[in-house]
Every structure is written in structure tokens, then in C-alpha cells.
């Protein structure tokens, strides 16, 4: 009964926050609502006893992805009112995607899913279970996914990397490699003549 109550609290906040994401005029508020939604979904995962997924959701989405969202939204100050003007034109596409997701939900609810997904064993934590399944049954998809991520990572670096020549840059190894002999010269100065270079 308590679990039911907690479920309804979490899902009500999730839905409200999701509406807030698309309804609020201020884009920073939108991102903050999105974060609230993430957090409540993590709470729902905990209720499903999928605490590993909940923790990962919070670490990855709240700790990294949403921080970058917030960063970009704050820095760029995009005029979202301008973007909003074309909303009606994109309505068919949006409806199509929404319908697609709805159909997928239908599949899940009607019990058609991939064979061999984790079933709760007696005394084994679901972290271990996910690890076992990921590294045995789904090893190939897992490795392919990690490879794609690696390619994306390198791609991002390649696309944004540029080394400007006209700025001062600290070269730590050059600084450390510098010896006293390179920098300081001791000269004996004869009185009345000054130091000669």
C-alpha cells in the first residue's frame, strides 16, 4: 500500500515535470523540470527494485548530460520563442513519433520482448545480474555500442579541435625541462664598465 502511494507520488511529479519541460517559457526552467523528471524516474526504478539502473540514470543523466544541457542553454541564450513559431508545421512529425512510442509501449505491455532478459534470481544483486547478462549473452551488442560511443568521442574531438598559433600557451614539460644553466648566466662585472652581453 505504501509502495502504491509512493508510486503515485513519483509518477504524478514525473508527469507534471514533463509537462513543465514543454510548457515553461524560460528555457532554463525547462531544463530544470527535465532534471526533476529524471530524478523521479530514478525513484520509479528504485520501486521496481532496479536500483542499479536508478543510480546509473542519476549519475549519467543528471550528473553529466543535464549539466551540459544547462550549460549550453545558459551560455547560448537561444531564443526559444523564435523556434516555437514553427511548432504547428512540425505537429504531424511529432504526432507520428508519439504514436510510434505508444505502439512500443503496447508491445511491452502485451509481453512481447527479447528472450533471455534478466530474471530475478534468489540471492544475487541485480548489479551482478546485469553484469552477467551484459558480458555473456549480450557481449557483442555491448561491445558494438561501446565502439560507436568511442567513434563519437573521437569525432567530437576531431570536429572541435583547433590549435591557435597566436595565443600564449603554457608548455609544462618545456618549463620543467628548463635548467638553471639555460636561464641564468653569472658574469663577473668589472668595476666602472658594466656587464657585457
Amino acid at each position: 500500500m505504501v509502495a502504491d502511494l509512493v508510486f503515485y507520488i513519483f509518477s504524478a511529479i514525473t508527469v507534471a515535470a514533463a509537462i513543465g519541460v514543454i510548457a515553461s517559457r524560460n528555457q532554463v526552467h525547462s531544463v530544470l523540470f527535465l532534471i526533476l523528471a529524471f530524478f523521479n524516474v530514478a525513484g520509479l526504478f528504485v520501486l521496481l527494485e532496479a536500483e542499479f539502473l536508478a543510480a546509473i540514470l542519476v549519475i549519467v543523466y543528471m550528473g553529466a548530460v543535464a549539466v551540459l544541457f544547462l550549460f549550453v542553454v545558459m551560455m547560448l541564450n537561444v531564443d526559444f520563442e523564435e523556434l516555437r513559431k514553427g511548432a504547428v508545421e512540425h505537429l504531424p512529425m511529432g504526432l507520428f513519433i508519439g504514436a510510434l512510442i505508444l505502439v512500443e509501449f503496447g508491445f511491452i505491455l502485451s509481453g512481447i520482448h527479447v528472450e533471455g532478459h534478466a530474471h530475478q534470481a534468489a540471492n544475487i544483486s541485480n548489479t551482478q545480474l546485469i553484469g552477467q547478462v551484459l558480458f555473456t549473452k549480450f557481449l557483442l551488442p555491448f561491445e558494438v555500442a561501446s565502439l560507436i560511443l568511442l567513434v563519437a568521442l573521437i569525432g567530437a574531438v576531431v570536429l572541435t579541435y583547433r590549435r591557435r598559433k597566436d595565443v600564449k600557451r603554457q608548455d609544462i614539460s618545456a618549463q620543467i625541462a628548463r635548467r638553471r644553466e639555460d636561464a641564468v648566466e653569472l658574469v663577473k662585472v668589472a668595476s666602472g664598465q658594466g656587464a657585457k652581453p
Binding site: 505504501v2 524560460n26 532554463v28 526552467h29 530544470l32 532534471i35 530524478f39 530514478a42 536500483e51 542499479f52 536508478a54 543510480a55 546509473i56 542519476v58 549519475i59 543528471m62 550528473g63 553529466a64 549539466v67 551540459l68 544547462l70 550549460f71 545558459m74 551560455m75 544483486s125 548489479t127 603554457q170 609544462i172
Partner: protein, 347 residues
């Protein structure tokens, strides 16, 4: 002693169930446990401010606070009273809601993370299987308070402070997370109690000394402490994201910072310094909670010591240290540890 305690607990449970009914009593009992856990934490937060001023005073050959009460012992209470009764100011163009939400969002993660800290065998509020992940998740939420404060104040200084802090915390979270992986590899569990139990033969600080050093420096950066206190670098940003905050709303930021500091000290003791285990076997007549407290105090002292010793980092140096020094070393050490576990087995 434990027999009497058990009897006492039984009486309390019986009384509570009679008063509230079994359903509600579980809730009330949890609240009582939370209060018992958080009261000492808040006490420590209050008094570490005095310790900091006294210790830094000692290092700089001055007295530190010594007027309120004997030896300045009531100074934190005087400070708290001052903060509570000062006027709360709100900048005209600030985002009201987020402006006041931000300090709370800094303090709350620093407090709820304590739920999984085991103080001695069995003495833990929530003995969950993913304790380490829980701590990582909660500490990754701490950054929002600071970004929101920086943005909602609607000032240049605050905004720059908030952005700096976001970049800094995200960067150092990566290296901090990576230092925890060897610990998990060696103990074979994400449960903090089992991590401590795995250190019975040898504290993890011995095989993982470089990881411990990186962990400590990373958490100094995570908690925005000197020499990594760039978000509030007073020389360039006035007070960074706290510039516009006054009275208790800035007090909450300070409490969050100190609570985080104490938390990461306890975490460091649990993960690397053997938690409640005594350094030598025959000393185990001293309760584990005292050992844990001593170890955490040692780390806290180092926090203050660093603050009195080192000048502030430059921003590009900070980023270089995080990404180009700590990240490769900790990645390498993960492989070394994994190889060691493969060859010699777990701890």
C-alpha cells in the same frame, strides 16, 4: 551491554507501535533514526568552522576566535545567530524561485548521502547493495545548487562562478569516479560495509596509494575548497556564485560545503583507510566508530592544512590537472588493479 540495549530497543518499539500503529511506527522510527544520524553531522558542520579558524590561526601564528565563550567555544553559535537574524536580500532581477531553491539544493544532497555511511558493523541507516553508486549519484546532484545560484542571481560574477563550478565539478567527478573502481574491483562489492570488511587483511590505501592521493585531491576540487576554490575566487569574482546571497541563504551554502567536506572525509576513510577497523589488531577494544571518527578527522585536518598552505590554482591548470594528469593515471591503475585481481585474486 548489548543485551540491555536490545531490551531497551524492544521497549521503545513496543511503545511506539502501541502509540502509532505498526504502519506509521516504521515511518516515525525511520525519522527518529535520521535525526539521530543528522544531529551529530550538523554538530560537526557547526564546529568544523571553529576548528578551521583555530587551526589556520595556529598555522599563521594568531589566536583565531577567542572572545565568545571560553577559548571561543561558542563562536559557531554566535555566527549562526548572526546569520539567522540578518536580512535576506533578493536582487531585483533575480529568478525568485530558483534563487531560494539553490541553497537548499546544495545542502540536501550533502545530508542525504549520509544514509549509506556505515559507522561500525551494522550501524548504518540504509545498508543498500549499491552504496558507492548511491554516493556518486547524490554527489553528482550537488552541482545543481551552484549552477542555479549562479544563474538565478542574474549577475556577471555569480554567473561566471556558477559556470566555472559546473565545469570543475563535472571534470573532477570523472577522476573521482575512476578512483573508486579499483576499490570496487578489490572488494568485489558496491556495498560499503563489505568494502570495509574486505580491508581486514590490508587497508586499500597500501595497494592503491596513488588512487587515494588522486581521490583526495579530486574531492578537494569537488567540494570547491582551496586551492581549487575558483568558483568563489574572491580576487576575480568577488564571491562567485554566493555574491548575491545574504543571511541564512549564504549560510546554507557554507553548511553544504562543510557537510560535503566531512562526508568525503568519511568516505575516504571507509574506502581506503579501513573504515572502523583498528590499525593494529589488538586495539579493537576501542569501538569502531571512534576509529572511523579519528581517520575522518585526520583527513579533515589535511583539508584545513591545505587551505592554509597552497595558493589558488589557475583555471587552465586546474583543468589540465583533472583531465591530463589524474584521468590517465587512474585509468592505468584500473587496468593494473584488474590484472592484479586476475593474478592474485580479491582482497
Amino acid at each position: 551491554m548489548p543485551e540491555i540495549l536490545k531490551e531497551l530497543l524492544g521497549t521503545v518499539h513496543g511503545f511506539g507501535e502501541g502509540l502509532f500503529g505498526p504502519m506509521l511506527w516504521i515511518l516515525v522510527w525511520t525519522v527518529i533514526k535520521i535525526v539521530i544520524l543528522l544531529a551529530p553531522v550538523l554538530f560537526m558542520v557547526t564546529y568544523i568552522t571553529l576548528a578551521e579558524r583555530k587551526i589556520i590561526g595556529f598555522m599563521q601564528v594568531r589566536y583565531g576566535p577567542n572572545r565568545v565563550g571560553f577559548w571561543g567555544i561558542l563562536q559557531p553559535l554566535a555566527d549562526a545567530a548572526k546569520l539567522i537574524f540578518k536580512e535576506l536580500l533578493l536582487p531585483e532581477k533575480a529568478d525568485r524561485m530558483i534563487f531560494f531553491l539553490a541553497p537548499a539544493l546544495t545542502l540536501v544532497p550533502a545530508l542525504i548521502a549520509w544514509a549509506v555511511i556505515p559507522f561500525s558493523p551494522g550501524l548504518v541507516l540504509a545498508d543498500i547493495n549499491i552504496g558507492i553508486l548511491y554516493i556518486l549519484a547524490i554527489s553528482s546532484m550537488g552541482v545543481y545548487g551552484i549552477i542555479m545560484a549562479g544563474w538565478a542571481s542574474n549577475t556577471r560574477f555569480s554567473f561566471l562562478g556558477g559556470l566555472r563550478s559546473a565545469a570543475q565539478m563535472v571534470s573532477y567527478e570523472v577522476s573521482m569516479g575512476f578512483t573508486l573502481i579499483p576499490v570496487v574491483l578489490l572488494s568485489g562489492s558496491l556495498n560499503l560495509t563489505e568494502v570495509v570488511n574486505a580491508q581486514k587483511g590490508m587497508w586499500f590505501v597500501i595497494p592503491l596509494l596513488p588512487m587515494f592521493v588522486i581521490y583526495f585531491i579530486s574531492v578537494v576540487a569537488e567540494t570547491n575548497r582551496s586551492p581549487f576554490d575558483l568558483p568563489e575566487a574572491e580576487a576575480e569574482l568577488v564571491a562567485g556564485f554566493i555574491t548575491e546571497y545574504s543571511a541564512m541563504s549564504s549560510g546554507l551554502f557554507f553548511m553544504g560545503e562543510y557537510a560535503n567536506m566531512i562526508l568525503v572525509s568519511f568516505m575516504g576513510s571507509i574506502l581506503f583507510l579501513g573504515g572502523w577497523l583498528p590499525p593494529i589488531g589488538f586495539l579493537d577494544f576501542i569501538p569502531g566508530i571512534i576509529w572511523l571518527g579519528l581517520k575522518a578527522s585526520l583527513l579533515l585536518f589535511v583539508f584545513l592544512w591545505i587551505r592554509a598552505t597552497f595558493p589558488r590554482y589557475r583555471y587552465d591548470q586546474l583543468m589540465r590537472l583533472g583531465w591530463k594528469v589524474f584521468l590517465p593515471i587512474s585509468l592505468l591503475w584500473i587496468f593494473v588493479t584488474a590484472l592484479g585481481v586476475l593474478l592474485f585474486g580479491k582482497a
